[in-house]
Amino acid sequence: MQLKRIGQQTIDLPSRPALCGNGSFVGKKEGEGPLGLRFDHVAKDELYGQESFELAERRLYLDAIDTAIKKAGLTPEEIQFLLGGDLLNQIITASFSARDLGIPFIGLYGACSTMSESLCLAGMLLDGGHAQQVVCAASSHFCTAERQYRFPLEFGSQRPPTAQWTVTGAGATVVTMEPKVQPLAHIARCCMGRVVDLGISDANNMGAAMAPAAADTLLSLFRDTGTGPEDYDRIITGDLGQVGHDLLMQLMREARVPLIDERYQDCGLMIYNREEQDVHAGGSGCGCSATVLNGFYLPKLQNGDLKRILFMSTGALMSPTSSQQGETIPGIAHAVVLESPLMGGKA
């Protein structure tokens, strides 16, 4: 059997699975940000009509998946796998949603890297002929993450300037081999990242903890495919925030593969007005890259504004326990290369 790997870490997907339906549901604060109009729905408040924040996150998750499946012209019964995760202990948002949906479920935990992790796996499942249509989803909620990782909401503590704000939102994408509607994009390649830890232990500076993993995955993908930053219309990281963004630029400069400033964007820096909305270094959470990809970038690929992008969600793999025990924060980043359906031909 012919191996589809290229180089050390990258996988080529010759059948170019299609991204066909996108759902992005966000909270109020995200709706007030610069991308507010791009999302499918903006919740009126943090509870989203539910009794608890956990239930609200699950509702956002289910609604994003429903919307994505509908837009792809499919029904849940036609979906063969749900690949999803979130930030809560035992990924309860994803697994409890899977209980309601009845779709065979592959639960993922990649911290904030879950969206691109699920797209990588979806691409491989489809290209390998193990499924025709799957749905990928990831979510986070400011209030559920805050109580699990930090302090109660009403506790009056001060955030340092390097801290990030967890995005309330869920994003879902249908990936299929048999598009029923005009595809949004195609997955060309994916690169599963290594876990990299350069000794950052400050949970209030996750951008710094994740930037080395992001650089490592980028360099691997470039090396494996013989491409460089100039070959992509956009290189998009998930939630490095201002500190991680600057550190990634510096790491790539030092590795002599400098990123092109105007083509490199971070979802965490796009989703809020950082000054007015008081979010310090930017947004974070699974929902950050999931909603920005589905709400903002996929439509731009569909209409041809962008031809080829490198989308890479980044995750910080610590837990409250590991932080309390003084462990450093391992980072991870998975990358997918997405191409516009208007590009024609193959890369």
């Binding site: 009403e154 950052i200 510096q250 590795a255 002599r256």
Partner: protein
């Protein structure tokens, strides 16, 4: 183009991180903490003076009145979602006075109510204030024993 690797020396990266991480603006933070903290103390003193002069309380009772009133006000402000905003602005200014302690008790009570009265509220009530109480009371016991032994 052949040396495409990142530096993997944690010390080197730590220095680099420090360079790119904006520090807290200590001048601004100090000023905010100073005026808010000072204002809370002035308020406490005013309540104590009202107690002592108008209500003819003993000094001890008057200062208890000040503490109780500040704790009550903080609890209300925490409950209506205002105190965390004051805390974000003032930092230690609102945290160091007794207001910080009240907030540290009320905020987990609100937060974990959903998990029930026993395993939620009951178990999590002291998650923030707990360490202060344990070591505060522990230290006072120790000091008390020294005091009793040596009869200072």
């Amino acid at each position: 183009m052949n040396k495409q690797r990142i530096h993997t020396d944690p010390q080197y990266y730590s220095r680099m991180t420090d360079k790119f991480s904006p520090p807290s603006k200590s001048g601004k933070c100090l000023f905010r903490a100073f005026w808010v903290g000072g204002l809370i103390c002035v308020l406490g003193q005013a309540i104590a003076d009202v107690g002592a002069n108008l209500l003819k309380m003993s000094t001890r009772d008057a200062s208890t009145l000040a503490s109780i009133t500040l704790v009550f006000l903080t609890a209300v402000l925490t409950g209506i979602g205002v105190f965390d905003k004051i805390g974000q602005y003032a930092g230690a200014g609102s945290f160091v006075p007794i207001t910080g302690f009240a907030n540290a008790m009320v905020s987990p009570a609100l937060e974990f109510r959903r998990e029930g009265l026993v395993l939620g509220l009951g178990a999590k009530l002291f998650t923030i204030a707990g360490p202060v109480l344990v070591y505060g009371i522990g230290t006072s016991v120790l000091v008390g024993m020294i005091y009793a032994l040596f009869g200072l």
